[in-house]
Amino acid sequence: MELTRRDAVAALAAIGVGGGVVYGATELREGRGPGESGETPTSADDTGALLETTVALAEIIYPPEVTETESFVRTFVSGRIEDDDARREAMVDAADALDADARSEHGASFRELEPEEGDALLETLGMSQVDPNPEGDERQRIRYYLVNELLYGLMRSPKGGQLVGIENPPGYPGGLDAYQQGPE
């Protein structure tokens, strides 16, 4: 099941972000952060790195049935942080923390790891047992701001619903037909 940029725009619209205007990855990589026109390159760099980290993370945590996750993740994450500095900072902090862990375990940033190494690192960090908490310790914030953030984006989109056979997962305004219909 291929994820597309359009799926991300739909997921964002459901959460109330962007009237379809979502920053593309190139603009961010080139230093033009959301709403910043390149004025504060540091934060644009941070944002670019954050996008790379989340793309690498999605590769590991999204179920194998979903493919082509990159443009979905870039669009989704860019949209989520576009007008939300607090979320951007918290996500960047969590990504920095994940990078620090990656460096001490594998000598490279998280986005540079092979998927197997990334997966092993998440296990080492105990990510499957950690309670997500936006105000918690480092691992809890990684779980909340990175792992669950990406899972949330996916699972409330129709493609995420399809993983378990429903068209209109809660949190997505998919209309009133799906609930009346039986399984296909």
Partner: protein
């Protein structure tokens, strides 16, 4: 007047305390008739634009249920001392819109028998008004709220006019439980609800977010902020974050003179008015009257009967859920589409009334399942399928009888953020409720058994959940020695003080209360208009 100006207005015609649906309806109805109205609300305004964020708080683990609408702080402290725990802060919201910010939105009318429990069964007491007295107000309430419904319920009371909107069609899982009910000779029908099945009154049609309870991001579900906005457009003034601390009366003790309220900057103000309406819900309304004790009224205001705070009832809520080996398509909308009132109008006194509804949101949602599980990658789909698939469920609301010892009092030991004693809730269930519950649970189990489901949970008969419908604590009646308000919803003791709330229900039936609250609020507004 800027939104942040919380100083009082000069003496107004009407001061309404509480901006839930009851307060909103009264305020709008009176402002629309040209009266000068001020509404004082303890909680904050909640802009529609914030609702998606609140939905996210609800959907993501890490946030408690009460975080969604910011309940549970020192402001909302309470104690619970009855035979069953009363989870107060899960049953109410403080904010412009009140608890309906969070309700599901079912709006059945009470059945005629609910008004005549004394005469028909020798149980509880009769209301001083009958179904026929309330019938025109019910119709008006349905049109104010915007109710979607169908006339397919053979057990419903008589009505003259169609519902404002068409009913929501049944769900896929309704068809599974409906087939079981057909085998059991149980007749199933639609659920009237204050949710737009089409665009209505400037609000969007339901778009299927599926998170109605606790938050509808689209505004398709009615909530009390609708009438607050309408009241404001008719000139009413609404002051948020302004909890009323007490009501002060004149030297004769005949009229309320002012509502004393606090503001976030720590000051207290007095709002004077010719008429006062308390619409704080069935827990805070008696609490405010008790807090307003004076030398002349040492037991609290409007309490010469001693009934203020007594006769606390709720609807006893029982869930029976199970699993099927087939997909049941849950969680694609957040509301029920089929119920049965077949067991409502009973012959014998006990078991009493209940109804059974079919859930469209049984078991964990796929979003919850994915975020809660902890797993990822290969493990994720299997984990979500395991926890999401095949759930099916029913809920029953069960009637309980008024009991003077089931009550709200002031806690002698604990105070809130303003130093006022917190409400102490002593909720009891009673034999009638328990016996009725046993029957309801039997019906619920029969339906699931017939559908071939393996039952995995049933609320015990003697340990019900709260239906989040507190009632009875400022009861209506003709006898001032036995009741707090008269049939005009005015307190017997004070000539310019009315109450708009389920607190005035002398008995509670088993039907969701809000349509009846709104009908009574419209009636109260009409009488206040006559007095002004």
């Amino acid at each position: 007047m800027s939104a942040a100006d919380r100083t009082p207005s000069e003496r107004v015609d009407v001061c309404v305390v509480g901006a839930g649906p009851a307060g909103g309806i009264v305020a709008h109805s009176l402002a629309d008739r040209g009266h000068d109205v001020v509404v004082l609300e303890a909680g904050p305004r909640v802009p529609l634009a914030e609702r998606l964020e609140r939905m996210e708080r609800h959907q993501r683990p890490a946030h408690d249920w009460t975080d969604v609408w910011g309940m549970d702080g020192e402001r909302d402290a309470y104690s619970s001392t009855g035979d069953v725990d009363y989870p107060l802060n899960r049953t109410r919201i403080k904010g412009v819109g009140g608890t309906t910010l969070h309700w599901i939105g079912y709006t059945p009318r009470f059945h005629p028998k609910d008004f005549e429990m004394g005469t028909r069964y020798g149980l509880g007491t009769d209301w001083p008004i009958a179904y026929d007295d309330l019938r025109p107000y019910y119709a008006e309430a349905e049109s104010e709220l915007g109710v979607a419904g169908a006339e397919d319920n053979p057990f419903a009371p008589p009505r003259e006019e169609p519902f404002p909107m068409e009913a929501f069609p049944p769900s896929h899982s309704d068809s599974i439980l409906g087939a079981a009910c057909e085998e059991l000779d149980i007749e199933v029908h639609s659920v009237p609800q204050a949710r737009n099945s089409e665009a209505y009154d400037g609000r969007s049609a339901c778009v299927g977010y599926g998170t109605c309870h606790p938050v509808c991001p689209s505004g398709a579900k009615y909530d009390g902020s609708v009438h607050i906005r309408k009241a404001e457009s008719e000139g009413a003034r609404v002051v948020d974050r302004a909890p009323v601390q007490r009501l002060e009366h004149d030297s004769e003790g005949e009229r309320v003179e002012a509502a004393v309220y606090a503001t976030p900057d720590g000051t207290e103000h007095r709002q004077e008015a010719r008429q006062f309406v308390v619409a704080c819900g069935a827990i805070e309304t008696p609490r405010l009257l008790l807090l307003s004790q004076s030398e002349q009224y040492p037991d609290g205001l409007a309490n010469s009967s001693g009934a203020v705070g007594r006769y606390l009832m709720d609807h006893l809520l029982y869930l029976v859920t199970g699993r099927l080996m087939e997909p049941t398509e849950q969680h694609q909308v957040g509301f029920s589409t089929s119920v049965t009132h077949q067991f409502y109008d009973h012959e014998e006194a006990t078991p009493g009334s209940f109804f059974v509804g079919f859930l469209n949101y049984a078991g964990p949602s796929p979003v919850e399942a994915a975020l809660d599980d902890g797993g990822w990658g290969d493990d994720l789909t299997a984990a979500v399928e395991r926890s999401y698939g095949g759930h099916i469920g029913t809920e029953a609301l069960v009637e309980q009888l008024p009991n003077p010892n089931s009550r709200v009092t002031l806690d002698p030991d604990e105070t809130d953020d303003h130093g006022n004693p917190v409400p102490q809730i002593h909720w009891t269930v009673g034999d009638h409720g328990r016996t009725t519950a046993e029957k309801a649970i039997e019906v619920q189990r029969d339906i699931l058994d017939e559908a071939g489901a393996r039952v995995d949970y049933a609320t015990p008969a003697d340990d019900p959940l709260s239906g989040s419908h507190p009632m009875g604590t400022t009861r209506m009646g003709d006898d001032p020695a036995e009741s707090v308000v008269d049939r005009r919803l005015r307190t017997h003791d004070l000539e310019n003080l009315s109450i708009a709330s389920s607190g005035v229900f002398p008995t509670g039936g088993a039907m969701n209360p809000t349509l009846t609250i709104v009908a009574l609020s419209l009636k109260a507004a009409e009488h206040i208009h006559d007095d002004l």
